[in-house]
Amino acid sequence: MQNTDGLTPMDRELEAALGGLRIAPGAISRDRVLFDAGRASARRRSRLWQGSAAVLAIALLVSIALRPAPTEPEHSTEAVARQHISIDPVAQSAAHMEPFDLEQAQAFRQYIRMRRAVVDRGVEAIPTSDGIRDNPAPPLTRENIDELLSST
């Protein structure tokens, strides 16, 4: 049977049950949220300033390190050196220099590297073959020696 407000008995039961519930105290305070938001905003601004300051400091240090040498009076030794050194690459053509023996240079480098590896890691650093050949040469016998000699 339905009441005039349109609720069924089941609805009324549910209404009564919901009406017995009480709101739990909030874990978040509005004031707290506003405060935290403001602090985070300030932290972001602070980090921005810190980052900017760090970048500027680094840029300053780099600029100090890379600043050009101050111009000096003509009698300084560096100025004298500059006058005596030609930096025109065209003037220093290969015709004035012995061509490099690249193979020997490579062998040189290989030795230096190998020496360092052996001192650091021991003789295990020296490469060896596995001692096994893929296509072993046939053993020399009297027959194939004769054949070899007769073919020349």
Partner: protein
């Protein structure tokens, strides 16, 4: 109250008694992390003929000829023999070599090494040769020449070690001595060659042979090798030739450096020399920006000129002469003089026993590091890179000498035991029949003590080494 006190005292007494029973039965090791080897040996007197057993071929038994050729032939024979079915791969060989002798798969090893008979005979013949001259063009090529197939000598030595191990195990001590002699001779000859890498290979081979001699001394009725070990050259592996090559090897490719005092180079010639040095160290003409790097080289050199000039004048060159030289010649001369000073300050210590040279080597290394950083990184002295880490090399030499010296001590102990009713000496001072070596790695006498029926012979972990560089033998008489 009295009853409770009595109960408390009873409990305390029981607890104390239990703690007493938990006391360790034996003394703890002196240095627990040190490399320790247990030896069970028999007493062994001096042989009837003291020099009956030798680890080198005596002069009058030698043959004419150059052992180097036979060593190279042995490498070729080994590679030829180890092919086809049943060939031994490197990993298996290394596994056998590194395994304790008691775990060696005897028949497998015997089968594997049986194919190297001709190789071993070649090495025996090499050990009898009266000279070993590695006729490389090393004075012409310098560092550019490296002995081919050097790694194969390590394989040869491992085959020899396994052969000796089997022979010792079989009681075939005459054959084992021949094999040990082949290995020791190869180590001596290879290590005395004209490069540091070759020298270190020789040191490693000798260390392997020393390990096999440990097996010898543990063999029942094995003859005493005290005088065989004393008769070895000291040092066994001579470093002189390799060090002299290393200190002058770069001049084979940069000979102008030797004449800088007499022949002034133009700026262009100096640049050419620096470029050649750079090529030897890794850069070459074909790299992009080759000319750019040259410009940077000049720019960096200009910064060095004032100090280089000041140093040369301080060393006694007339100021007007230095002023007149091309600036790059001034810089190059200064660099080379620094290089020579540092090089000699390092290599001079290689002629001094390691315990006396240790601090000098360390100081020279530090000076080299400081010099390398001097004047900024832009044009650091490029020639310093050619110098090897000499302190480490001398350390390895001293460690090998230590291993051999300890074997001498072990044989002296066996000799003492044979002369004293099978008893171990209470101290090394009690051994008076033969002289005992000192510790070449740490200086002074080896540590010795009797503990729990064992003789403890120890070389402490050196200050510039790690636990594996110390060595402790715990010797028990059978």
């Amino acid at each position: 109250m009295t009853r409770n006190v009595c109960r408390l005292l009873a409990v305390a007494a029981i607890a104390i008694a239990l703690c007493g029973e938990q006391a360790p039965a034996a003394d703890p090791p002196r240095t627990p992390t040190i490399r320790t080897i247990q030896l069970q040996v028999d007493p062994a007197p001096e042989p009837r003929f003291a020099l009956q057993y030798l680890l080198e071929t005596p002069y009058m038994e030698q043959r004419s000829g150059n052992a180097a050729l036979l060593y190279q032939t042995a490498v070729g024979l080994m590679l030829e023999a180890n092919q086809g079915d049943g060939a031994t791969d490197r990993d298996t060989l290394n596994h056998w070599y590194n395994s304790p002798p008691e775990t060696l798969p005897v028949e497998d090893v015997r089968t594997a090494i049986s194919r190297f008979g001709l190789t071993f005979r070649n090495l025996e013949t090499a050990a009898k040769c009266e000279r070993c001259t590695w006729e490389y063009p090393i004075r012409e090529e310098g560092f550019a020449y490296m002995m081919p197939q050097l790694g194969e000598y390590r394989t040869l030595s491992r085959l020899l070690c396994l052969k000796a191990r089997l022979e010792i195990r079989d009681g075939a001590l005459d054959q084992a001595l021949t094999t040990l002699r082949s290995g020791v001779s190869m180590a001596r000859d290879l290590g005395g060659g004209p490069s540091i890498i070759q020298h270190l290979v020789g040191v490693a081979i000798a260390a392997g042979m020393a390990r096999e001699i440990e097996g010898w001394v543990q063999t029942a009725n094995a003859p005493n090798l005290y005088w065989a070990l004393i008769a070895l050259p000291d040092p066994l592996i001579n470093i002189r030739t390799s060090i002299q090559m290393e200190s002058a090897g770069l001049y084979a490719k940069l000979p102008e450096l030797l004449k800088l005092e007499d022949k002034v180079l133009s700026n262009e010639q100096v640049l050419d020399l620096w470029q050649r040095a750079a090529a030897l160290l890794g850069a070459d003409q074909k790299e992009p920006g080759w000319w750019l790097s040259k410009t940077m080289m000049i720019a960096g050199a200009m910064k060095l000129y004032p100090r280089a000039k000041a140093r040369l004048i301080e060393q006694g060159h007339p100021a007007e002469t230095v002023e007149a030289w091309p600036p790059l010649h001034v810089i190059l001369l200064d660099q080379h003089q620094q290089f020579r000073a540092v090089s000699d300050s390092i290599f001079k210590w290689t002629y001094v026993p390691y315990t006396q040279a240790r601090n000098g080597l360390k100081q020279a290394d530090q000076e080299m590091s400081q010099l390398y950083q001097q004047d900024g990184a832009a044009m650091a002295n490029p020639f310093l890179i050619f110098l090897p880490a000499t302190q480490r090399i001398c350390f390895l030499d001293a460690r090998l000498a230590r291993d051999i010296a300890m074997l001498r001590c072990i044989e002296a102990i066996r000799m003492y035991a044979a002369d004293h009713d099978g008893k171990l000496p209470r101290s090394l001072a009690e051994i008076t029949a033969v002289p005992l070596p000192t510790d070449p790695l740490n200086g002074g006498a080896f540590h010795y003590e009797l503990a729990g029926g064992k003789a403890i012979l120890e070389s402490a972990i050196p200050p510039d080494g790690g636990p594996k560089d110390g060595l402790r033998y715990e010797i028990t008489l059978r």
